[in-house]
């Protein structure tokens, strides 16, 4: 029989991560669902020298890099879309704190697919012929690089293809809209590469905005793209993606997206941000207060809220969840 796997956020970071860990975030990137609160907790517990594997940048990578906790990063898109350049990541890259290895968005997805299949590499005809292939931040002396995306020959047609090294991150924190206590999860909105990542990563922690009864999972099994058998732990944390959005639950917090990114532009203002928004809360209640009731009211008035309607009757109460977390943390 599968057992409940709910644990607290602090326990999850303590139990599954260490300095230098190869850490992947599962998100709808760059400004959608993300386990941003997991990144905050990594900083709260002083984790550093991280090797970040992000399909795309998000405010989480922006924050982690801006705080100086990321030695190496691999990602596709590295901005914040309409919110502009990612100032924290940008500063870390420009000053040499973070080595950023560039790929495209498809390349990151197929590298995770390769990891899920336990293949050594995946062939494709993207990224080749451009400086994504020729330039390597991890092996800067090699130009043009022949080890980052080496050319291989299709044994059937003789055609030349690029070989993309598979990824099997040591630990992944994957944001989901809802999960049951066993770790069966439903994602609303685009998955990006969360499906592949859940099979590629060696350890998988779900960060869920809502916890639902397993009856809900049995009602919609086709929508359960992450089943409990690949999940090691579940963290319940409403507004886990804030200030980013979670379809069906809350919209992006435009003001905080801007002020956070502005703060991450300098070392000094980043320290202030960490003090105010990372080290400032002691509980989930504090965290909600930090966002503010007015702001929560505003962002939960989302045009997407109807997406949650089919699931609402199965949402577990905070008390029910708290009991399971107490058992899980033992």
């Amino acid at each position: 029989m599968p057992q409940p796997k709910l644990i607290s956020l602090a326990t999850a970071v303590d139990r599954f991560t260490q300095n230098g860990v190869q850490y992947a975030s599962g998100a709808a990137l760059p400004i959608g669902s993300d386990t941003i609160v997991f990144g905050r907790e990594l900083l709260r517990q002083g984790r550093n020298q991280l090797h970040a594997i992000f399909h795309c940048n998000s405010q989480q990578l922006n924050l982690l890099a801006g705080a100086g906790a990321v030695d190496k990063a691999e990602c596709g898109f590295s901005g914040l879309e309409v919110f502009g350049f990612a100032n924290g990541l940008r500063r870390a890259v420009e000053t040499g704190v973070t080595q950023l290895e560039d790929y495209s968005n498809l390349a990151m997805a197929i590298r995770l697919l390769g990891g899920a299949m336990n293949w050594p590499f995946v062939p494709a005809t993207v990224n080749i012929g451009s400086d994504i292939q020729y330039r390597s931040a991890f092996s800067p002396e090699e130009y043009p690089s022949t080890s980052k995306i080496p050319m291989i020959t299709d044994p059937f047609s003789g055609r030349q293809l690029g070989a993309f090294q598979s990824l099997q991150p040591e630990v992944a924190a994957i944001h989901v809209s809802m999960a049951d206590p066993l770790g069966n999860a439903i994602m609303l909105g685009t998955e990006w590469s969360r499906f592949e990542l859940s099979r590629a990563a060696k350890k998988v922690i779900l960060v869920a905005d809502e916890i639902v009864h397993t009856d809900c999972i049995r009602q919609f099994p086709n929508l359960v793209r992450i089943p409990d058998i690949v999940v090691d732990a579940i963290v319940y944390w409403p507004f886990a993606a804030w200030p980013q959005s979670s379809p069906g639950l809350y919209d992006v917090d435009e003001d905080h997206m801007r002020s956070m990114n502005k703060a991450l532009a300098t070392e000094e203002t980043t320290q202030q941000y960490l003090k105010d928004y990372v080290f400032s809360y002691q509980s989930h209640r504090d965290y909600l207060d930090m966002i503010g009731s007015e702001k929560r009211e505003k962002i939960t008035q989302t045009e997407t809220s109807f997406l949650m309607d089919p699931y609402r009757k199965w949402i577990l109460s905070a008390d029910e969840i708290a009991k399971l977390v107490l058992e899980g943390d033992r």
Binding site: N105, L106, R135, S136, E303
Partner: protein, 265 residues
């Protein structure tokens, strides 16, 4: 040319000129920001059956409440008919060769349509890779679209610093060194068919693949465009003026651009 104040902005002209390149029924992929506005403008105006998707795998959606903050924003998740994933959208539908057209942006573009969105360096990078002086957004899905889409439309503000003889870093390939060099890599996509700017439209010479001036706007002229292009820009013998946006076109664009992102400058 009218001497009175324009009834539309340069950015709106660029978005409408881009949208005019899209044909009804095409399978199309849009990035965020300007390219999304151009694409959904086409859908609202002359291409109602365009099959639009985003690279994260959002299908059948039209933005609500203004320009989406990103391609996975709730503003484009409120009326979707399918949510899938990146392997599906960028792989099954773009890298496979199914996608007819993609729209991408550029920080810097060169005369062969190669795009840099990765960084600004002081001078050449050199043989040893070094971090850029100014780090930009990276390639994102634009590289995949540039390799796989049937044709690619590049939207870019027409400023000298953005129009280089050769980009410092190729984030997304155009015609690489020109001529048939693109064929060497076996890309399934055909390459960029136009660079659409705030001043005019450039198209590639069919043989050399060098981009030349094909058209200018009612408010711009050939000399102005040449002086804003940092390579010896050739002018097509067929060069012409792009028709002004019609009332219907502006109405359709502004319906999509509800928050006025294109009217701010």
């Amino acid at each position: 040319m009218n001497s009175h104040k324009l009834e539309y902005t340069r950015q709106e002209m660029m978005a409408i000129a881009t949208g005019r390149e899209l044909r009804d029924g095409e399978l199309a992929i849009f990035g965020v920001g300007l390219s999304m506005l151009a694409g959904y403008f086409a859908q609202a105006h002359h291409a109602p059956n365009i099959r639009a998707m985003t690279e994260g795998g959002v299908y059948g959606a039209t933005p609500v409440g203004g320009l989406p903050w990103g391609i996975e924003c709730n503003r484009i998740s409120a009326n979707a008919t399918s949510f899938t994933n990146g392997v599906d959208a960028l792989g099954f539908l773009v890298a496979s060769g199914r996608c007819d057209v993609g729209i991408i942006g550029a920080a810097q573009v060169d005369k062969f349509g190669n795009v840099n969105t990765t960084g600004i360096w002081d001078g050449e990078i050199g043989d040893h890779y070094r971090a850029p002086k100014t780090r930009l957004t990276g390639a994102g899905g634009a590289n995949d679209i540039a390799c796989g889409a049937g044709r690619v439309l590049i939207m870019v503000a027409h400023e000298p610093k953005r129009f280089a003889e050769k980009v410092t870093y190729i984030s997304s390939p155009g015609y690489l060194d020109g001529g048939n060099t693109r064929e060497r890599y076996g890309f399934i996509g055909g390459g960029p068919s136009a660079i659409i700017t705030t001043l005019g439209i450039l198209r590639p010479d069919p043989n050399t693949k060098e981009f030349q001036l094909d058209a200018y706007y009612p408010f711009s002229n050939i000399e102005e465009i040449k002086s804003n292009t940092n390579w010896e820009l050739k002018v097509s013998p067929m060069v012409h003026v792009v028709p002004e946006p019609t009332v219907d076109e502006l109405k359709a664009l502004r319906k999509v651009d509800e928050t006025g992102a294109l009217r701010k400058q």
